[in-house]
């Protein structure tokens, strides 16, 4: 039981680590508190869903990061650079607002219902380790 909890926490924690290291990176390098980071996470998930429907999971894993990288460049050029001389709070609020807008756009296109992506064969099913199967 505890082994399962630890495995689950590690899986969730690795997602959180990726998110929070992104926040730390943009704060450290650009001095920006990005309240819109969660919305980008959500955009990645939904784009992943769409691309996975069209061309499968592996294509999504390859294409979506590139798409979001382009969005990141646009965000830097169009939002962060023009606002460079503004105070921290103002930039943070702009990212908060952009996050809300992005969230609403996604709800408009995808609706509020949950969507799921089928895992590829190599990642689906459970594995046996130390006499336990995971995921149970």
């Amino acid at each position: 039981m505890i082994a399962l909890l630890i495995a689950n926490s590690l899986a969730l924690a690795s997602l959180l680590i990726m998110l929070s290291s992104g926040l730390a990176l943009i704060y450290g390098l650009r001095d920006v508190i990005n309240f819109g980071h969660g919305a980008l996470y959500m955009l990645g998930a939904y784009l992943g869903y769409t691309v996975a429907l069209l061309g499968g999971f592996w294509l999504a894993l390859f294409v979506v990061p590139i798409l979001l990288a382009c969005l990141g460049v646009a965000f830097e050029r169009l939002v962060l650079r023009p606002l460079q001389s503004r105070s921290h709070i103002e930039v943070a609020l702009v990212t908060l607002g952009l996050g809300i807008i992005l969230g609403q756009i996604l709800i408009f296109f995808y609706g509020g219902a949950a969507r799921s992506v089928d895992a590829p064969r190599i990642l689906s099913g459970s594995i046996e380790a130390f006499g336990l199967s995971y995921p149970a």
Binding site: I33, P82, R86, H88, E90, L93, I100, I101, G103
Partner: protein, 246 residues
Amino acid sequence: MTAMQALLVSFLIVAVYAAILGALIARTNPLAFMMLTLAAGEMISHSVMLEGLRDYTGGADGLVVGFKGAVLGMQAADFANAARFWPVAWTAAWIAGLIIWTVRRSRLGAILRAVRENEERMRFSGFNTYAPRLIAFVLINMIAAVSGLLHVLNAGFVSPDSLSLSVSTNALVAALMGGVASSAGPIVGGLIFSFAQDEFGAHDATQLFTGVAVVAFIILIPRGVVGGILDAARQSTRSLVGRKRP
């Protein structure tokens, strides 16, 4: 406990809570302050959902608030009546506005403005920068408490929704729209915001409106409607004066 006593006690509890919270966080820099107030708000809004407090807070269902007797000479039904409630809310808004305007013109207001511009320099000049910020924090929280108490009297109902982050973001957007540079800003902003929320709420686009308004106002009119008008007026008089004396 009569209704009036209950209101007074809740008002005092908010004041004490604000003083304790303020004593802990008034010293921090703006970003830390933002994160700490956010955390404190989330703490309150989640603690009312606790299963153990369900008998007192009603959990996610909220509480129906009724009272017998009169408050400010009005019965419970009168507060639900928009025509009777309107003068009360309007008077409270005016009194709050006057208090803030008085503080702004006082010595305390001058110190607060200077601290906003450069906290470090004020401290080096021998000013206590902690006490004024604490007083300001407690004062605005007491005004917020009055507004919350009036909300309960009017709605006759309170639920965790009233404690959610969106209440704070709505107030923030209203302040940004009006401009925080003058006492009139939040008033104008509040009027514009309520009007816009009605308009966009009809199309189920309140959230989208909030996001767009935050971005548009910070980027295009950072000093808000009132600040923008003041700036424009100052600029046009300057250009007129400039033309007279080339």
